[in-house]
């Protein structure tokens, strides 16, 4: 799954540590989500959506390889 988390965070000039604090997760978790190494749980995805004021489908989307298969 891909996401726009890094872009959205950069637009607000937040560091990974700041975003991690807002989301009550570790900085490692934010980094792993941004680099696509970890897909967040649904509750965390909704929390991210709420923080950025966007629906989750505007932040997270399937990568092209998986989308083609489904």
């Amino acid at each position: 799954m891909n996401n726009r988390l890094r872009v959205l965070r950069a637009e607000r000039n937040w560091s990974q540590a700041q975003l991690a604090e807002y989301l009550e997760v570790s900085r490692q978790t934010v980094n792993a989500i941004e680099t696509g190494k970890y897909d967040p749980s649904l509750p965390l995805a909704f929390k991210i959506g709420k923080l950025f004021g966007k629906p989750i489908e505007e932040i997270f989307f399937p990568d092209s390889g998986r989308a083609a298969k489904s």
Binding site: T29, N31, K37
Partner: protein, 131 residues
């Protein structure tokens, strides 16, 4: 104030309880060398259990306070350690059938120290995966 979800376990408490557990285990081993009466020997063997229970409860409580990625890392590490220990035990049992192993140097009670080693190896591998 509410504790943040990613605060994790109290590491200082965990270190103290780990030391207490190891000390109680050492004391149990020493007592087993000293006492001969069966009830006392059984009591000595059971001595580390309360410390182990405290240690276990602290770890479980700590895991519940970890954030979701760290919980996944812990799960992968525990699975890695468990399966690797299982392989070690299976191999040891086959080797015992194949040849006579020296019980003082290579027996099942020598296997358990490998479990924490495999666990820390599993944590390292899983952490690297999500870096």
């Amino acid at each position: 104030m509410q504790t943040p979800a990613h605060s994790g376990p109290s590491w200082s408490l965990l270190v103290v309880l780990s030391l207490l557990f190891l000390l109680s285990y050492g004391a149990a081993r020493a007592l087993l060398e000293l006492v001969a009466a069966p009830p006392l020997r059984v009591a000595s063997a059971l001595l580390p259990i309360p410390f182990f229970a405290l240690w276990l409860l602290t770890i479980i409580r700590g895991i519940r306070e970890l954030d979701e990625l760290e919980r996944r890392i812990q799960l992968e590490a525990v699975a890695f350690a468990f399966l690797l220990t299982l392989i070690l035990l299976l191999t040891l049992s086959l080797l015992e059938i194949a040849v006579t192993l020296p019980p003082e140097d290579l027996s099942y009670r020598h296997v358990w120290p490998f479990l924490p080693i495999f666990y820390f190896l599993g944590v390292t591998i899983a952490r690297r995966r999500y870096q």
